[in-house]
């Protein structure tokens, strides 16, 4: 099996850098995006993976990105990062299809646990495809 890939979407550079550093150290393939739109622009060319998504971003928010992934019928596990004390937002994300959520700042251990679960959830399927390219089921 190929390397497990994690896509980090966060507008704070320090967060991206440290997460990439951390996850690469744990053997994950990483790609970081500074905004939701940057990530979604690339989406159709990406290999399947997990998405570590910041909730609070200018432009498209974490929830916008999550919504688009669902609209695109991309079923990859999405882990939503929320600000401290924003559990209700995290819950909302969960109710909208997020795999899990993390309150910032979080423990490395916690992150690793979630990814272990995510990658073994069997939800990481195929590469995303444009809607019209999907075969008809009817």
């Amino acid at each position: 099996m190929t390397k497990r890939t994690v896509y980090i979407v966060d507008d704070t550079e320090e967060v991206r850098t440290s997460l990439v550093f951390l996850l690469q150290g744990e053997g994950y393939a990483c790609r970081a995006f500074a905004s939701g739109s940057e990530f979604l622009t690339e989406l159709l060319g990406l290999d399947p993976g997990c998405v570590l998504l910041d909730f609070q971003m200018p432009g498209l928010t974490g929830l916008d990105v999550l919504s688009e992934l669902r609209w695109m019928e991309v079923e990859w596990p999405v882990v939503m990062m929320t600000g401290h004390g924003n559990i209700h937002v995290g819950m909302k994300a969960m109710s909208h299809g997020a795999f899990d959520f993390l309150e910032k700042p979080f423990e490395e251990e916690m992150l690793m646990q979630i990814f272990d679960r995510a990658f073994s959830s069997g939800k990481i399927g195929a590469r995303p495809q444009p809607p019209a390219a999907r075969p008809s089921e009817g």
């Binding site: 739109s37 979604l40 609209w71 909208h96 444009p130 809607p131 008809s136």
Partner: protein
Amino acid sequence: MPQMVWSAGADGRNDYFNRQWHDFTGFKRDTGKILNVRELLHPKDVDRVTAAWTHSLVTGEPFEIGCRLRHRSGEYWWTLTRARPERNASGRIVRWFGTCTDVHRRVQQQRTVRESDALNRSILDSTPDCIMMLSLEGDVVFMNHSGMRILGMPTSKALVGTPWADLLPPSAVEEAQRALGVARKGGRARFTAEVTTVEGGIAWWDIIAAPVVGDDGQPTSLVVISRDITHQKTSEEQALWAANHDVLTGLPNRAFFQLRLDQYMKHADKADSGFGLLLLDVDNFKRVNDTLGHDTGDALLRTIAARLKLATRAEDLVVRLGGDEFAVVVAGASDAEKIEAVTESILLKLREPCSSTGRLLECLASIGASIYRPGGMDKVELLKQADIALYAAKDGGRATFRIFEPAMRKEMQRRLSMLSVAREALRRNRIVPFYQPKINLQTGRLAGFEALLRWRHPGRGIQTPDTMAAAFQDTSIAQEISDRMIALVIKDVQDWIRAGVRFGHVAINAAAAEMKRGDFAERLLERLATAAVPTRCFQVEVTETVFLGEGADYVEHALKTLSSAGVRICLDDFGTGYASLSHLKKFPVDIIKIDRSFLRDLHHHEDNDAIVRTVINLGKSLSIKVVAEGIETPAQSAYLRKHGCEYGQGFLFGAAVPRKDVPTLVAAMSARADRLKSTSLLASSLKIEGGGEGSGIIAEMGPPLCLRPSTAAFSRRGKAAPLRRAGLSR
């Protein structure tokens, strides 16, 4: 001639007449009848003679009077009648002795001379020609009234003695002296001279000099007659002018241009300099002529001619080649910069507003230029290069200027081959519509299709319209292609309706030229009716440019007719053209399409971001649906959905597909929408972020079904479509 003699008494009664009297009067002496002189007097002379005779009788003064007496022929002859009194010793008058001298012939001669004099004088004075008598030396002796008037002199006195040559312009003096020399020798000489009139104008004179011959056959003086032939000369010049000029604009014509172009080339070779040749073609002239009439077209051409004159120098040449084509020779311009400068000023001048009969006209032209360099090329090549550059300019849009480059020749050939490709595609039925899906961005449901032009290349497969782009500039081919497209699309739609394919709607693109044809709407509605295609399954997409220019009335008519029949009107490329918000109110626009160019850099370009959001909000405010075109990435789609854009179209949702793939695509889209609906993520997620503003916009652009044509008899606005009511459709 012997005189008539008579005598009379002191009382004046005649008592004797001699034989000559009888001969004159015809009265016989032996009749014994003594006639009174008075009885033979001309009635008009009676009073005058009686008065003089009475005076003499009273005063005794001698009597003398000229009077007419009746000759035996019955005519009155002039006589000189005289009488003297004979007095007695005491001095009393006892008798009068009188004579009558026949002076009739002399008086008549005098009168003839006088009349002839008057005639001559009257001829001299009433002829418009200037008639002069000159001495043999060539000095003026006499000049008639016309001559004086021409010279602006009150009398001829001041002129008498002036050498004729002094009255002529220096250029004519030599000819005049030669003519006088011929006349002095008894001959006649004739020449033409150009003179300046007292008013400062130019006049042409035809001048004849001839001798006046005396009794000895020798010239005694000279006569010079000058005739004003300015009019004739002008007519000749006018004829020449007309042959070389365009009557409408007053500019030189093609014939003159050919001639002068040779001269410009010769001059350039000699002076080792160059010149620029500009060919101008008025933009959209045919449309002006067709829609506003020839008077307006003519006015436009005159305006352009005048502006070209204003924008060029005296040494340049401005020509109307014919139709809406003009040429300008820019003297001395041997490099691109100079030509560009002149062209800039021409385009600037043309851009000034131009109104004709209260209507604002667009007065623009495309310009192609070539440069002549000494010994460089022949005339044909020079013209050809400018022509190619003009084609290239026309291709680049209106009011464009291009200087010839060798690469253009290739381009030209490409364009020509595009035209033949288009003709061939039409002839061999290779035109095929492809259908690109439009998606409801909120629900994921298929909203409809835009029919796009494609053609099938026998070797290379499906081609996009840019491979025959040049053909769309040829109005007749463009219309034929459009006609074909509409027919094919209606056929496909008809098939899908029969097969129960839920395709939503199909939009066709209509070019401005088609809308301005006058009966576009009626023809389209009739075709839809014939095919039993409900109007609400049909959309017409137009670009903003159709609202502009001279044919806007036709466009308004077409759009309103279509709209009231239930065909929805979609404004394409919104934001790229010149459409104003008032157009959205004036014309029945149901849908606006955000141009793809605004989506391209959406996330890196704040302006585009602002424009897209503004258009979306504008649509909401005016209850106009908004479609975003050219959606290629999920990022764009997410952004548009987030801001409440209802519909999207682009590669992300699928490229245009052939008709046969449409049913499959419809089914796939429908299945996908059902899946999305079951996850029910979309609407609720928007509610969180959008604060309700963008939520709940799940209204379709039109019903996804067109299964019941009877309901389509009512337009979206709820009004019954007039054409349907009129029975044009089932």
